[in-house]
């Protein structure tokens, strides 16, 4: 490859954090982590990034895998989309996350693409993000001076801008197992069913309490500079027994929460239409499972 950079492949997390601590400025140059490479190598080739040094995470086995204990799901940063598909228990309580992994890229991309790489790519079309936002996930960021936990809902600051300080590494993504009377769903609308970039992605998670909707989280992908929650629409559903009229009104409200663009895949108008239709459909499906 024409691009010129140094590559270090640390054996331990501490070594990786030290190697990244030298990262100045972040952005498109400097030192950057390399996970599955499915964004990084493509971006290098297209000259969208020009790091002087890459820190390969491939030998940090402790960062890969899914542990479920004490009511919490903890997913290592290097867990791949295929790891999500192979996990025996995840489909039971996080079908939204498993469904996005099924329609994520092609097989070779799913085998390489990591969850943290997806989140840190900063793409508004990153498919794991709506499901993780609707599950109310938190991410752990590490540096030589320690670790901190940031709610994913506060991680994205703007288009390709996030809460990571230069050199900070994402080590874990975690969330509480959803309560018994709850349901979560994801739908990816794209031009093809396989290996296609999302036109609109919608994830919904509902929990029922005494016949009413206790919590509602709706996350929308590819319709704003970042993947975002439709908080005004969520508020309309909370504390209510959901009727078709209310669900439709909330789905219309979700359209006001987004700011889509025209691009080669779809017009902004079509995306708005699909936010309404898909939000209504997924909330209806999730609610039907609870009643």
């Amino acid at each position: 490859m024409y691009a010129d950079f140094d590559l270090v492949i640390p054996e331990t997390l501490d070594e990786a954090l030290e190697a990244l601590a030298g990262a100045v400025g972040g952005g498109n140059g400097g030192t950057q982590p390399l996970a599955g490479g499915t964004n990084m190598i493509v971006d290098l080739r297209a000259r969208r990034v020009a790091p002087s040094r890459l820190v390969g995470l491939g030998r940090l086995d402790g960062l890969r895998g899914i542990r479920i204990a004490d009511g919490r799901v903890r997913m290592g940063a290097r867990t791949t989309m295929s790891d999500i598909l192979r996990h025996p228990d995840l489909a039971g309580h996080a079908p939204s996350l498993v469904d996005q992994a099924r329609v994520f890229g092609g097989q070779m991309v799913r085998n390489a693409a990591t969850v943290a790489g997806n989140i840190c790519s900063g793409s508004p079309a990153a498919d794991a993000v709506p499901a993780l936002l609707a599950l109310d996930a938190e991410v752990t960021l590490a540096s030589p001076s320690g670790t901190r936990v940031v709610p994913l809902s506060e991680f994205f600051l703007g288009y390709k801008r996030d809460a990571r300080a230069p050199g900070e590494l994402m080590t874990e993504i975690a969330w509480d197992i959803p309560p018994a009377h709850s349901s979560n769903r994801f739908y990816k609308l794209a031009l093809r069913k396989g290996d296609a970039i999302t036109v609109v992605g919608v994830a919904v998670a509902l929990a029922a309490e005494d016949g009413k909707c206790g919590t509602a989280r709706i996350a929308l992908g590819a319709v704003a500079p970042i993947v975002k929650r439709a908080t005004a629409a969520e508020a309309m559903l909370c504390g209510q027994a959901l009727t078709p009229e209310l669900i439709d009104a909330a789905a219309r409200q979700a359209v006001d929460d987004v700011d889509p663009i025209d691009d080669i895949r779809a017009s902004a108008e079509y995306r708005r239409h699909c936010v309404h239709a898909l939000t209504r459909r997924l909330v209806t499906q999730a609610w039907e499972r609870l009643t």
Partner: protein, 162 residues
């Protein structure tokens, strides 16, 4: 200039020491070493022509840096048949007429092998998802699906006899 380093890995069952610069992709390195069955198509993860197995899992070799596979076992389509008999997938692709120009075939067979490891009894949706990262401009995929179904049955038979 990117630094060059010698790494140890296994390619098609053979231990090898390979000198490669930091910025070499596995695709570039394999073709330099003469593994021409690994094809270069798009070099951005779209076509799957460059697919190889790394520790049994298919990846696009155009998206992997060579140094990152140090210590791992890389298998190309030519490495599947090791130990004499032709691999059932290769046999089935030939018999079903799933090969026309053949440019996509090494990647398709590698992807199919990786998919069948997780899903030995695939339905058409499983095959579609397993092969959705491979483009074929000739066959229209119908005969590719036939071949994968046939090979899966043969592999299951071999498994139950073992």
């Amino acid at each position: 200039m990117a630094e060059t380093k010698t790494i140890a890995l296994t390619i098609n069952g053979r231990d090898r020491k390979v000198a490669a610069p930091a910025n070499a992709t596995l695709l570039e390195t394999l073709r330099e070493l003469g593994y021409f069955e690994v094809k270069s198509g798009c070099e951005k993860g779209d076509c799957g022509a460059c697919a190889v197995l790394v520790d049994g899992e298919a990846i696009d070799s155009c998206l992997a840096l060579t140094w990152t596979v140090a210590g791992r076992a890389v298998t190309t389509v030519a490495g599947l048949s090791l130990g004499g008999a032709k691999h059932p997938l290769i046999e089935a692709f030939e018999k079903s007429g799933a090969v026309q120009c053949g440019y996509c075939t090494p990647g398709l067979i590698v992807a199919a092998q990786s998919m069948l490891k997780d899903t030995p009894e695939p339905d058409d949706d499983d095959i579609r998802l397993g092969l959705s990262g491979n483009l074929c401009r000739c066959t229209g995929y119908t005969k590719v699906f036939d071949a994968v179904r046939d090979a899966a049955a043969v592999l299951r038979g071999a498994e139950s006899q073992a």
